[in-house]
């Protein structure tokens, strides 16, 4: 069977970032020399063209903080030339009038700005950086320049109780979309899991608040609620299935099926400097390893619900982290013999202290 065609390219332009969010999806090794060797403008432009030829339609320009790339306008223009719809995923602190207007002229399609909390002091505490006022100014500027605006907020135990204020803030800012992304436990969220894990009551309140808001506001503001998968008992179709709809390019050009795939030992990840994207997508070991369903073990292989093509066995990185075997059933699944590990992880730690994201070597024992 031929490989499916991807729809989305996630371009992690740089792991540098002024914020220090404790749930950042970047790898813990962001300070490593390999990731400081960032791709040149022409490498990215070539990757965008190759992605479009492969079938990609949507491009996420993300990081770290993508605004730290001085060639961002050229990259937006290259995306437009390739026929891609481009989204800037930014913390907003560097999104000033002159640079934003330049991105608009270059053809950037959409701006997504993160907030950490609707409360200024709490936002700045979670981000590890004074940033709230700049984010609000950036959101207003995006609207003034007629960009479609998405507000993104990663949800966890320390901000879920403010869900009604988050919804109201997105409405007041004139956002077209609000992404409420319940924390997924990859990257920096792993050492912070106990500080971030919400209670069931918080999630139930949050989901009901979103439902009430949708009924009140209608389609003018599309609210996306990313499921908190540790409270599910069937796994999510992570990334829409391994190497099925999306690919991630790291700042140094390494290509991954998802942001966390570098945590799976024994896989070789190829680089856009050395290989065409088409070969990496169709032929490379990392992309073919868990594509489709042939790699599945029990209980996935004979899934009693026949969900192999619906959830693709869940998340490979989560299976790796919780069971030590990347080919195991995602332990979120109630049929997994390791499901008790997910139940145990729901128990929150009492202190809630964060390990902040840093590019310096991290202390021993964090992992």
């Amino acid at each position: 069977m031929p490989a499916p065609r991807p729809l989305t390219l996630i371009a992690e332009l740089s792991y540098r970032c002024p914020l220090r969010c404790p749930y950042c999806s970047n790898p813990l090794e962001i300070g490593a020399a390999a990731y400081r060797d960032e791709l040149a403008t022409e490498d990215w432009s070539r990757a965008f063209r190759q992605a479009a030829e492969l079938g990609v339609l949507q491009l996420a320009l993300t990081g770290g903080e993508p605004m730290l790339r001085r060639d961002l306008p050229q990259l937006c223009a290259a995306a437009r030339d390739a026929g891609l719809y481009s989204s800037l995923i930014t913390a907003g602190t560097l999104f000033d009038e002159a640079r934003a207007a330049e991105l608009k002229r270059a053809g950037l399609d959409h701006v997504q700005i993160s907030i950490q909390s609707p409360d200024p002091a709490d936002n700045d505490r979670i981000a590890g950086n004074r940033s709230f006022e700049k984010k609000i100014a950036a959101a207003k500027l995006a609207k003034r320049l007629d960009f479609p605006l998405t507000i993104n907020c990663v949800l966890h135990r320390q901000n879920l109780d403010r869900i009604d204020q988050i919804l109201q803030l997105a409405l007041e800012l004139g956002a077209q979309r609000l992404e409420l992304a319940n924390t997924q436990y990859y990257g920096w969220a792993v050492p912070n899991q106990a500080a971030l894990m919400p209670t069931r009551a918080q999630l139930e309140y949050g989901e009901a608040a979103v439902q009430r808001f949708r009924e009140r506001v209608g389609p003018a503001l599309d609210v996306l609620w990313v499921l908190p998968d540790y409270y599910e008992d069937l796994p999510k179709p992570c990334m829409g299935g391994w190497a099925r709809t999306a690919l991630v390019v790291a700042p140094n050009g390494d290509v991954f099926p998802c942001q966390a795939a570098s945590t799976i030992p024994g896989l070789t990840f190829d680089n856009v400097r050395a290989h065409p994207l088409e070969w990496i997508w169709n032929e490379s070991e990392a992309f073919t390893r868990f594509r489709g369903t042939d790699w599945m073990q029990e209980p996935c292989r004979t899934c009693p619900l026949g969900r192999q093509e619906q959830d693709f066995g869940g998340c490979r990185c989560q299976a790796m982290r919780l069971t030590g075997d990347a080919a195991a059933t995602d332990p979120v699944c109630r049929f997994s013999p390791e499901h008790h590990r997910v139940l145990k992880a729901r128990e929150a730690a009492p202190d809630g202290e964060f390990v902040y994201r840093t590019m310096r070597p991290i202390a021993d024992g964090v992992r």
């Binding site: 079938g55 339609l57 989204s87 479609p148």
Partner: protein, 87 residues
């Protein structure tokens, strides 16, 4: 709905790899059949519904397309893909 237009940031695009028309929206892709493309191309925020229906009726040899077109625009509005420029 008086003068429909595509929501801010939505862009009609021909996907040459899959040979189909799509509407690209922030982090989303909506596949379109030929009729939907014809309707959306006319949703420019200038024409009112009567003008859109008239233009399409002409294209389809005078057929009465009013209900179909209005139904399609309303469905697009409910999905947040089309908004009213006259509102």
């Amino acid at each position: 709905m008086t003068r429909p237009r595509l929501v801010t940031g939505a862009r009609l695009h021909f996907d040459a790899v899959r040979s189909e028309h799509v509407l690209l929206v922030p982090e989303g892709i909506v596949r379109l059949n030929p009729t939907a493309v014809a309707v959306l191309e006319l949703c420019d925020g200038e024409r009112d519904m009567d003008a859109i229906v008239g233009a399409l009726s002409e294209r389809y040899a005078g057929a009465d397309v009013s209900d179909d077109v209005r139904g399609m625009v309303d469905a697009m509005r409910d999905k947040g893909l089309v908004v009213d420029a006259g509102a």
